[in-house]
Symmetry: C2
Subunit: 336 residues, 2 copies
């Protein structure tokens, strides 16, 4: 936990996200398709270009739409009225143009220079949506592995009330250094740093690095139950929730249909989930963080931040895809 410097000028951005810049390919699949390929349902795994080709060839027809966990959060937060920027690496190719268009079209500032397409293509995530609405993600990181501290835009970080870091960026090698540098810039400017743990397997891959970053750099933590338990190597959510209060000033812990818990050192606010008919859980956690941060940077009290998170998540899981515009518009109207 880091205490913000007191004399910072008013931020001109609410949220600056840093994450993997990914185009999603969503397709329906049945449980047998996952079983035949040993794909653990509900998780995210990293795949290389050959596996991406093979799996794509076997998948049903898809729908392409811009994704990326942190980028989804930024897009949804912008729809909730926040002023938002995003940093992430696409290639100078067709999918990179799709990604850039979509995030800019919702009003998010996106300045990162694209990578030469010959070096690596824009990342894609092959998402298999089973009849129960769960999504199983297979990510080919492509250009994302080239994101480095050189891609940080210091002026945007200094301008943002909260710099929001996507935990998945602990996978590409150069990005952890960029996170520390981003945190240094943000705190020096009197701003806050938020991070999401992204995925329990990602936490397992980088547990010590996550613990260090959460303890030493993060002001705000987002995690779901599996992720926070993975971070603290426990099966008991209550134990993990108690531990996180010692490490970070503010944490929002989501528990699917059981809602979320917002904790600080001295406060604990349970937040109810919003009812929704689950179509596709892709982007639920991203949307929760978006609603939460949009409310927080608008000065709302913590229970209200949790409510905005729940409303955004319910809208996203009730439709196919991580940024369903119509459902999100209705959600925004409902929190007024």
């Amino acid at each position: 936990m880091t205490i913000a410097a007191p004399a910072a000028p008013a931020p001109s951005l609410d949220i600056l996200g840093i994450g993997n810049a990914i185009v999603d390919v969503l397709a329906r699949a049945d449980d047998g398709f996952l079983a035949a390929r040993d794909l653990p349902k509900g998780g995210m795994r990293l795949i290389g270009p050959e596996d991406a080709e093979t799996l794509y060839a076997e998948m049903a027809p898809g729908i392409e739409s811009s994704g990326g966990s942190g980028a989804n959060t930024c897009a949804v937060a912008a729809m909730f009225g926040a002023k938002v920027g995003f940093l992430g690496k696409v290639a100078d190719d067709q999918l990179g143009k799709v990604f850039a268009h979509d995030i800019r079209a919702v009003g998010v500032t996106f300045p990162t220079a694209p990578l030469a397409a010959a070096t690596a293509p824009t990342a894609r995530c092959l998402i298999l949506v089973t009849p129960d609405g769960q999504r199983t993600m297979n990510t080919f990181l492509g250009a994302c592995v080239h994101f480095s501290a050189g891609d940080l835009d210091a002026a945007l970080i200094e301008a943002a009330a909260v710099t929001y870091l996507e935990g998945y960026l602990f996978d590409p090698p150069a990005a952890q250094a960029a996170f520390y540098e981003a945190s240094r810039i943000a705190h020096h400017a009197g701003r806050q740093v938020a991070i999401t743990l992204s995925d329990p397997f990602c936490v397992q891959r980088h547990r010590q690095a996550f613990r260090k970053f959460v303890r030493e750099e993060a002001d705000i933590l987002f995690a779901n139950e599996a992720e926070i338990c993975a971070l603290y190597e426990t099966d008991r959510f209550e134990e993990a929730a108690a531990l996180v209060r010692q490490d970070v000033a503010l944490a929002a812990l989501t528990r699917s249909e059981h809602g979320s818990v917002v904790v600080t050192e001295t406060e604990m606010h349970p937040v109810a989930a919003r009812p929704a008919r689950v179509q596709d859980t892709t982007g639920a956690g991203d949307a929760y963080a978006a609603g939460f941060l949009a409310a927080l940077t608008r000065g709302k009290p913590l229970p209200e931040c949790g409510k905005w998170g729940s409303v955004a998540a319910a809208a996203v899981i009730s439709e196919f895809g991580a940024r369903p515009l119509d459902a999100l518009k209705a959600a925004v109207a409902s929190v007024g």
Copy 2:
């Protein structure tokens, strides 16, 4: 009208489509967005690469999915159980791979060699869907203009009971010659040739060429009310329907919510539209032709062919996009 030779061997394909190979970019837009840019609602216009860039930059976030009128028909017909092939020109780029994947993933044979990406990119259609569910299409043809008689696969044409030609291919210059050559190959093998007029503006651009092809080459014609009236330069549907019976052996004429009329020289079958809550009319005509041809090549009587067309069209307009898999699966089950 051409009489099929009697002694042809049984076809191993039901339908071979030839059309523009296009990836759709669907986005919501309001009427003011169309009005400010003088875009006639419900139509298709051709745009160059610069206009495509400009319009895309101004559009809302999109969803990419494989499209193309004839390709949509092929994909939907395959879902209705027909054995289908498709010929159309993509580039060797990311959107070309998306197009090829999606049409192959529903079981359609797609052998056309891609164009070098440096020559022209894969075609895209920027589709603006207004709140009333109508779609306004802006097509950058890209690689499609390079489709020529050299891309015809004679063995597939000879193998198909019906070669189905997309009228939009009257726009790219080399494709008309390819249509005549495809018709020659098909008839020589004792097969039938179907054509769809695609779009009233396309008919206006190429009226004499369409009339000649319909009269001299086509065995089956698909058209909606505006298209058949444009072909015969009349405001009266009944007059157009009477004229078409002199030119072609079988015509299926669609009239939106008023259903369709299936006519031959001696028969006339009115077909009711299926009730649907209209979300997005993209692909309605394509789906009608798919259902119709899937039934026809299975030997169903003409009223049944029209019914399959109506069922397929209703499924497509009740969802966003031209190939909504879940809705189409339900439609297929309903005609069982």
